[in-house]
Symmetry: C2
DNA sequence: AATATTTGACGTATATTTGCGTCAAATAAA
DNA sequence: TTTATTTGACGCAAATATACGTCAAATATT
């Protein structure tokens, strides 16, 4: 009985909320920022960077993949994780729009 | 055994993720945007605007209050809901910083 | 005073998230 | 070929989130 109502909202709202949800955990924020800061793809265990077990980190990575923010190509034994520039650009666009819509400049409380 | 590890992350990451989490539902995004678009406080049942029951909407409002994005003063029988400019400004700052850190311009995948 | 409206608090049921252990497939190294 | 490494898939248990019904307190209305 919980949730299943999300599709009753306008598509744009759902898209925005879905991105927010994908980033609603510090591990996922950190993974994204780690990849961004490295300025390149990462081969090796990303879980070394986080205070969580490998399996758990993998699950967060999976979620970020699912929403299209990162990709992972197999490279021999290791996997190469990259930001997905397309998804990231889309995310930034959505966030930017959200920020602009939340204009509070001439907000008056009578 | 689930979660309780969030405090193992750096405070800034947690703050960012907490904001994302607060917006991780279309209802909450819509409530914020509704208040922003009205350019003023709203007296009356916000749940009229959403495809959800009143109790449920109230719960989402409560979460937005908890994180400091909206306020609600009692005004006679009704309650006046407002954006909290301070919280909103802080949110926008956090989001803006997140976007900037996610620079993908000179991201190279070798 | 009695009644109606409005809204938060509380409880409940279901769904999802989180965190992790274990296992199996795939490749590298011996 | 045997033995490590690496990583995704699967499943489990606990915690949270979601959605809502019901109730009670507070203020208006009659």
């Amino acid at each position: 009985m919980a949730q299943a109502k999300s599709e009753l909202f306008k598509e744009e709202l759902s898209v925005t909320a879905r991105y927010f949800k994908a980033l609603a955990h510090p591990a996922r924020v950190q993974i994204l920022q780690f990849l961004a800061k490295s300025k390149s793809c990462i081969t090796g265990d990303i879980s070394d960077e986080l205070p969580l077990g490998r399996t758990t980190v993998n699950q967060h990575i999976k979620e970020l993949k699912k929403i299209g923010l990162i990709t992972g190509h197999i490279e021999g034994v290791k996997t190469k994780y990259c930001l997905d520039p397309k998804g990231v650009t889309e995310l930034k666009k959505v966030l930017q729009l959200f920020i602009e819509e939340l204009d509070v400049k001439d907000y008056c409380c009578d």
